[in-house]
Symmetry: C2
Subunit: 188 residues, 2 copies
Amino acid sequence: MSHPLRIHLEKISPFSDAEFDYILSHFTTKKLKKHQFLVQEGNAVPNDHFVLKGLLKATHTSQDGKEHILQFAMEDWWISDYQAHFNQAAATINIDCLEETEVLCLSLHNREKLCSELHKIEHCFRVKTSNGYVALQRRIISLLDSSAKERYEQFLLQYPTLTQRLPKTMIAAYLGVSRETLSRLHGA
Amino acid sequence: MSHPLRIHLEKISPFSDAEFDYILSHFTTKKLKKHQFLVQEGNAVPNDHFVLKGLLKATHTSQDGKEHILQFAMEDWWISDYQAHFNQAAATINIDCLEETEVLCLSLHNREKLCSELHKIEHCFRVKTSNGYVALQRRIISLLDSSAKERYEQFLLQYPTLTQRLPKTMIAAYLGVSRETLSRLHGA
DNA sequence: AATTTGGTGTGATCTATATCACACTAGGCG
DNA sequence: CGCCTAGTGTGATATAGATCACACCAAATT
């Protein structure tokens, strides 16, 4: 059975055993308990993170103190504060664990090193990022032209697995709806 | 004086004259008048587009027939229906010109060809896309936790040039606010 | 067993924003 | 010239969704 990261990368391009071992040697492992922070507002964000096991949320806190969820991540997803990470700036979001979690960490330096040494992995990252870009555009469209109810229904369809593992309160915070409103849109 | 595309790409990595000519040979030029469509809902989207001159908007129409603006693009920006383009599916958005416009077109095939032949350009595209990803995340945060007024102010700060060239009605459609509301948030 | 913590539902109200309706202006074009 | 079209402002009203307040439950924690 292959390594989860290998399966993940090989959806885009194949690697030899030696290549994959080399790639993997640029990652470090981190284990976190429920409620622990992976990224904390104000700190540096040295790494991008590939989730091996667990579930996390990335949240942004508005001036009036309300938490909105930018992103979830479970097995096989990547998560970080990318703005801070790529610009080597202080984090403006928090990322914490909703379950016991294990991630692989890739530093900015190691990513650039791998990308310059191995064309194929830069290709992987480009394709991944393009797909991510498209997904974000879809989310923006959904925020712009769908009602709370429509967004909730889209979420349930798009992320059935995630739905099982998340309290509704958090889905609400992801959709930009109050938990009370979400709770009320059963039949309507 | 360098070609605008060259200047654009060399913000990320330098190219020799021969390399750049080779890159450029993979693009075609297209000129459009005001109100002409670059991408039309339901059609294929063979190309990504780099704007040499002019101004365009990408719009999505919701079920109830309202137009929301996903993206603007002026000189030096890229624009397409990326979901449709990358998946070779039918467009779900319209892209049309707000001014007389000239774009460079890059087909999916030519992009992949260039990327596989020239590691440096794949690097450029990866970095560009990462930056785009971060920008979209910022926009999502702004949609999730800012009021209409705050979003408008952020827009004015972030895109002063664009603001000059756009009617407020369109800025409203980009921000997800009705034009009447936008018109009312002067002092408040 | 008792208490805290996290999640949920639901009524009563409030408010930001949408909607509808109309008037005004400036510029392009027959 | 006079007629469209596009863009804008603003009043009156409607409404989706936020907020506040409370009750309830289940699973941890002590």
